[in-house]
Amino acid sequence: MISPGTQLQFLRYLLMGQSPGALLDSVEVNDIAPIYDFIWEKALEIGIRIRGEHFSQSDMLKRLKSVEQYKLETGCKEPLQRCMTNECISEHAGCVRRKYDDQFGRLYGLIADYLGIEYRM
């Protein structure tokens, strides 16, 4: 389980419009997906608070990279399902990390956009 201090750190960067790249480097690969889930939840909360009834998750999903697309770009031969559920994390830790690095960057940029604040890489 990720520590609240780590959750808070990622949330702080999110609200400050700061890229989480440096934070991700210091996080264990197994913790990345839970942190992503946490931030995704917070992103949804922010989306709903800003956009009210007009908020849709599909809008956010459209602006993120699909797992399918990521897998394609890597030329990975594993079944898509394994990539979606990170089953291959023990064999391809670096790949999982890259996948999330990219996705975190997009999500943070998207939220900065929603919040109307400058996003700093």
């Binding site: 609240p4 201090g5 808070l8 949330l11 922010i46 919040l115």
Partner: protein, 170 residues
């Protein structure tokens, strides 16, 4: 009535601990919520807020890092309503020490709490609606921003904590 004459046994009291790297911030937070505030010579702040004649909230502001890291959280935790950790939103070192405290606390204490970053009247360009109801970090722990230059804002922070307690009892 002197604060020191309050007899705990005859009143219903809810206790809230306020901690963080900056004692002046804790003091400000407590002052905005309490009609009576006492600062002791060991740099501890005590505040009392009367809800009704029988019901009161006690706020204990504990000093800076040395004090709160060495604080007997294990003794106080079972009795307190919850804790508030305050720090300067823009100050990295303050955040780091709050982070350390939070991690230590979460390993040993399972209490309701809220972490608040004080924006001190500075513009952050984020709509208040985004953070005024707080962000949950777990079922008992929340985060929110607080503007220490707005005297009414501490109440909004406290509401988040009280709401989480009410939800817990439901």
């Amino acid at each position: 009535m002197s604060l020191l004459t309050v007899q705990k046994d005859t009143h219903r009291i809810g206790e809230i601990v306020v901690a963080g790297p900056s004692l002046p911030l804790q003091k400000r937070f407590i002052t905005h919520l309490c009609n009576e505030v006492v600062i002791t010579n060991n740099s501890t702040v005590f505040g009392r807020s009367k809800i009704t004649d029988e019901l009161q909230l006690f706020f204990y502001g504990i000093g800076e890092k040395e004090q709160y890291m060495d604080f007997a959280w294990d003794l106080v935790a079972p009795k307190m309503l919850g804790y508030v950790l305050v720090y300067d939103w823009f100050e990295g070192n303050g955040f780091t020490s709050v982070q350390q405290l939070l991690n230590t606390l979460s390993r040993h204490v399972e209490s309701h709490g809220i972490v608040v970053g004080d924006i001190g009247g500075m513009p952050i360009n984020i709509d208040r609606a985004v953070y005024e109801s707080g962000f949950s970090l777990s079922s008992k722990l929340y985060f929110s921003l607080w503007d220490s230059t707005d005297k009414t804002n501490a109440k909004d922070v406290l509401k988040i904590l009280i709401d989480s307690l009410i939800n817990h009892l439901e």
